[in-house]
């Protein structure tokens, strides 16, 4: 074993060790798993498939594809939604949709052409969602419900790196951080004004649900015609900024937004469906903001979330690059750096963020912003 591979193995072992400590069965996890409605034991029993097996998707379940997908270490993802017949999604709040009871979402994760995990999000009452993860068997014939604590290291996805099934608490860490539990199915993500520069986005297939099909099929209420005539689009000065803002919204905005439990941190990366100059909210929340988390080698209390023109002193980028538990962002759900996004954000901070400052989106002179953790 070379020194490098040994170091990689040791660090992976340390990460697994830490993960084991972190996901130790807590009362909250058990409580989450002890809700009144339990998910089925097998994926084939959840209603995803037409034949009760796992070969043909039930046609009532419609595929969709968000334009700014969450990075999951390069997994190939497939997603389906089922809205109960005759129901509509309440879109009065354009950025926080309310789904009818009985709605189900599935997301399948595959690595190297093999299905590894399928997650279920199932609305069982006006206020409750059931979260479940299913682990695919070796024969790829079905998937079994994962325990509430998750399953570490179910599949190797890169040398020394393995995909883990998240715990229920980890699921809820992101899905309970905003005004809606559903993250990838909203007006901006389903807009037909797709961002051609978005990272890792799939092509829209004809059978997929989009904002336009939801209107045409009268599955949203009220029937917002602007979803079709003026589909949501991040307002940005250039394509690079648009793609970066979309990425930050899809990958960071679920937790770092202005209305969720982490609003006290002051960072806001979530892009609403309709807003002028999307870069302003990000810049005003992150630019020059002193972070409580310190960049290695910097004096405590002097690190900034985003420093225009200086990627190496932007904590945001450092934490995007990192895949160590104490510093990586997002803090869960990924063990492999998203190199394409890192390079794009680095270039954006180096160049376009400067333009943002020049155009007046920076905080007032002398303002350092509030501290964040």
């Amino acid at each position: 074993m070379t020194r490098r591979t040994f170091a990689a193995a040791a660090s992976a072992a340390a990460a697994m060790l830490l993960a084991a400590v972190v996901t130790a069965g807590s009362p909250a996890a058990m409580a989450a798993g002890a809700r009144a409605v339990h998910p089925p034991r097998m994926l084939s029993e959840t209603g995803l498939y037409a034949d009760g097996e796992t070969r043909r998707i039930d046609p009532a379940n419609r595929p969709y594809s968000p334009q700014y997908p969450l990075w999951t270490d390069g997994a190939a993802k497939a997603r389906w939604v089922r809205l109960p017949a005759g129901t509509t999604i309440d879109v009065r709040n354009v950025d926080a949709w309310t789904f009818p009871v009985g709605t189900k979402f599935w997301k399948e994760f595959a690595f190297g052409g093999r299905r590894v995990e399928t997650r279920l999000l199932w609305k069982v009452s006006a206020t409750d969602w059931v979260f479940a993860s299913y682990v695919w068997n070796e024969a790829q014939t079905d998937a079994m419900l994962a325990p509430a604590d998750g399953v570490p290291g179910v599949a190797e996805i890169a040398p020394g790196k393995r995909h883990s099934i998240p715990s229920l608490e980890d699921c809820r860490a992101c899905h309970d951080s905003g005004r809606t539990e559903v993250l990838g199915f909203n007006a901006l993500q389903l807009s037909t004004d797709r961002d051609p520069g978005a990272f890792h986005a799939d092509r829209i297939a004809p059978e997929m649900v989009t904002l336009q099909t939801l209107v045409e099929e009268r599955r949203v209420s009220p029937l917002r015609r602007e979803f079709v005539t003026d589909p949501p689009r991040i307002d940005a000065a250039d394509p690079q900024t648009r793609a970066v803002l979309g990425y930050l919204s899809g990958n960071c905005g679920a937790c770092h937004n202005a209305s969720g439990p982490l609003a006290n941190l002051g960072l806001n990366f979530r892009q609403p469906a309709y807003a002028p100059n999307g870069v302003h909210a990000v810049a005003r929340s992150a630019l020059n903001r002193v972070t409580k988390w310190d960049l290695p080698g910097q004096m405590p209390g002097t690190s900034r979330a985003l420093v225009a023109g200086d990627p190496d002193h932007s904590a945001l980028l450092y934490r995007m690059r990192s895949r160590r538990p104490s510093s990586q962002m997002p803090p869960l759900g990924t063990v492999v750096q998203d190199r394409e996004a890192v390079e794009a954000v680095e270039a954006w901070i180096a160049r376009q963020a400067q333009a943002c400052v020049r155009s007046g989106c920076a905080l007032p002179e002398g303002t350092q912003g509030n501290t964040v953790r």
Partner: protein, 192 residues
């Protein structure tokens, strides 16, 4: 696996806790919303839970190491810069600072937090919900980076809601002390 981890990190911490009696100072002021009884019980929980064993730095006294009560529950002293930790070898897997406020192991280097209600460096901006979410999940505010060893958060997570609230009320009743604890240090990695 989980029980082995617990034995590895928690038992030494508990054994150490049992070896040192910490007499936490009484809170000088009460939170306006917290009852005196709640704060008093929180103080009791902090004492029997051994929170001060790691969150109050040790200093060298005439009879050996003793808690520096002038820094009660303020975490790792900000002015105490730590040199690189010695590499673990064989069964020597982790190591601790003389203050018992910094620890190195496979997770990197961790520093105990400032639990006083200082707004900038402690828990002054924290709500009970943030505190409870952190203790219940082992993640900052229930969502962020993991709480690192040797913090025995699973023990705290087992608290009743009432005990958790008393614990928080007591910590919030402490005099705020400005002490910027360093961020944890990751184990080496290639970040570029």
């Amino acid at each position: 696996m989980r029980s082995r981890i617990a034995r590895l990190f928690l038992i030494p911490a508990l054994a150490f806790a049992a070896s040192i009696l910490v007499s936490a100072q009484s809170a000088p002021t009460a939170s306006p919303k917290a009852s005196a009884a709640s704060i008093k019980r929180g103080e009791y929980l902090v004492r029997i839970g051994g929170c001060g064993d790691c969150h109050t730095p040790l200093k060298l006294g005439p009879n050996g190491p003793e808690p520096d009560m002038a820094r009660a529950l303020t975490g790792h002293p900000s002015q105490m810069a730590m040199p690189p930790a010695p590499a673990g070898a064989g069964p020597w897997m982790w190591t601790g600072a003389a203050t018992n406020t910094a620890f190195a192991g496979p997770w990197g280097v961790s520093f105990t937090a400032n639990l006083t209600p200082d707004k900038e460096t402690g828990l002054g901006e924290w709500t009970f919900d943030m505190f409870a979410a952190t203790m219940r999940t082992g993640r900052h505010q229930g969502k962020g980076r993991p709480i690192l060893p040797p913090m025995p958060y699973p023990n705290v997570a087992a608290m009743t809601e009432s005990d958790m609230r008393d614990l928080f009320n007591y910590l919030q009743s402490l005099p705020p002390v400005h002490n910027k604890v360093p961020s944890p240090v990751d184990p080496p990695e290639e970040t570029r």
